[in-house]
């Protein structure tokens, strides 16, 4: 698979480390009353349905940026690549 890095252009997927569903960026609030259950769902449960999947890839052998790759996991076709920092916005 070739991942079209927004800054570096097309890079081979073997340069990257894979983390998983981009939903992992939305960490639950640890102060919430339902925190224990929220963190269980966050840590262990996954949508994992076929078709389009937004997922986190780390450019370990490159510029060490986190990317959000939109990929069809039924065909491996990549349709969109974004910098995770662009999606997350400035740190609060």
């Amino acid at each position: 698979m070739i991942i079209n890095h927004p800054l570096l252009g097309p890079r081979d997927a073997s340069e990257f480390a894979y983390l998983g569903d981009a939903a992992l960026m939305r960490r639950p609030d640890p102060k919430s009353e339902t925190a224990a259950d929220d963190f269980y769902r966050y840590q262990y449960l996954r949508e994992n349905t076929p078709g389009e999947h937004r997922e986190l890839w780390f450019h370990e052998q490159g510029d060490r940026s986190w990317l959000i790759v939109t990929r069809n996991i039924s065909t491996h076709e990549i349709t969109k690549v974004e910098l995770a920092t662009d999606v997350a916005g400035p740190a609060s």
């Binding site: 073997s14 262990y44 994992n48 996991i73």
Partner: protein, 416 residues
């Protein structure tokens, strides 16, 4: 029809005119006592044990394609019970015992061949870990033998013993491990279940569950609605997809695992070898092909094909362990979809929906588990309580902190 040597002889001299289809192709009934979704190894085994051991009547197996077309036909056919954690070891040893009596039980030649499996070690700490694992196996009634370098050399003189970076110091040998003809497992279970009246419904895809007030009353399929008192799901690889129709999210990601077969060669590898310094394992099929594989590709996938980096990685492992493999030509390769669970261990449990039961999360250990998985799932469906050896495979173990994490990798499915 009972198979026997005499039957083969009789058919041979009468022109093979007496063979009949091995299972029926019935029309779906409108209602069953128990429906099993998934006509793979685990689903068919479940149906067989329900009918033969738990006196189950009025059972159907629903398969979206043809039976045995999924992972039971896409694996590397290895059976073993060399786990360390008690929750796993007791279960897989139960499975190995069922493999040992499988052909007599099914009256079907599944070519169960206990040719032995060796896990090689390459450092002192790895040796210590294997000694510990071997002891755990023996405590659970399995067999384990620690081999030194000479012991490995005696069985596999062609391995690369000169490798100075990863020297082969010895191996943990399970003589009762081995291989089984994978397709024959599906066909044998199907034939045995069918002969006890189980309806095997192929080309019958489940499109929805009939769930009302927290209870499952049946399923909608491409061949009409079918009601059932109990529904068991055994669709590993597609578990999340099917259970999403029941409104459930699972502690599972689907990943692709590749496997490879070389051209047919003369007998050279008597048993199964696993490399301890890279992810590579190999055995030789009865047709002569070297059957080998390695790691999962490492990203979510429902495509039954992988990518080249893992091919390279597996071939490097093979060349490092047994350089002579470089002379063999690759005949074919394929990918299967694995239910990678969050702790690397499976789930066999009731769900929160009454009458709906789940069996999945087999990672890449599903084939060797087939008989025990079927037997335990049948036990759960028939009696409502988990089988002795499958008690730990609960759905809620993640929320209760009772993970069965053989590798100690945490909730990282692509690392298990």
């Amino acid at each position: 029809m009972r198979y026997s040597a005499l039957k083969i002889f009789k058919e041979a001299i009468t022109g093979h005119k007496g063979w009949t289809p091995v299972w029926r192709s019935p029309e779906p009934k409108s209602a069953y006592d128990i429906i099993i979704i998934g006509g793979g190894g685990h689903g068919l085994a479940t149906a067989h044990y329900l009918a033969s051991k738990f006196d189950g009547k009025n059972i159907a197996v629903l398969e979206k394609g043809w039976i045995g077309g999924g992972n039971i036909g896409r694996n590397t056919t290895i059976i073993r019970s060399n786990y360390m954690l008690h929750e796993n070891e007791a279960f897989y040893e139960h499975s190995l015992k069922l493999w040992e009596g499988l052909e007599q039980d099914l009256n079907y030649n599944a070519m169960v061949s206990q040719r032995g499996i060796i896990n090689l070690f390459h450092s002192d700490p790895q040796r210590d870990a294997y000694v510990r694992r071997g002891n755990a196996m023996i405590l659970n009634g399995a067999d384990a033998v620690l081999l030194d370098q000479d012991g490995v050399k005696k069985q596999y003189p062609f391995l690369n013993f000169d490798n100075s970076r990863f020297p082969i110091l010895g191996g943990l040998w399970q003589p009762r491990g081995g291989t089984v003809r994978h397709d024959a497992v599906a066909w044998g279970y199907a034939r045995a279940a069918d002969s006890k009246g189980v309806d095997i419904l192929q080309n019958c895809e489940v499109t929805g569950f009939d769930i009302r007030d927290g209870r499952c009353y049946g399923v909608q399929t491409t061949r009409g609605n079918i009601s059932a008192k109990k529904v068991g799901v055994a669709v590993a690889g597609n578990s999340s997809r099917v259970m999403a129709m029941a409104g459930m999210r699972l502690p599972i990601e689907s990943h692709v695992l590749q496997a490879f077969v070389s051209e047919g060669l003369k007998p050279v590898i008597p048993g199964v070898i696993t490399y301890g310094a890279g992810h590579f394992y190999v055995s030789q099929s009865d047709k002569g092909g070297l059957v080998f594989g390695g790691d999962i590709d490492g990203y979510n996938s429902y495509a039954q094909r992988g990518n080249l980096p893992v091919v390279e990685d597996v071939c490097e492992g093979g060349m490092s362990l047994m350089p002579m493999i470089g002379k063999a030509r690759l005949l074919r390769m394929w990918g299967g979809i694995m239910d990678m669970s969050m702790d690397g261990s499976p789930i066999i449990d009731k769900t929160d929906i009454e009458g709906l039961y789940f069996n999945g999360g087999w990672c890449y250990g599903g084939f060797k588990a087939t008989p025990a998985s079927g037997h335990s799932f049948a036990h759960l469906l028939a009696t409502g309580s988990p089988h002795e050896t499958a008690k730990a495979y609960r759905m809620d173990r993640f929320s209760r902190g009772l993970m069965i994490d053989e590798k100690g990798q945490g909730a990282q499915p692509n690392l298990h």
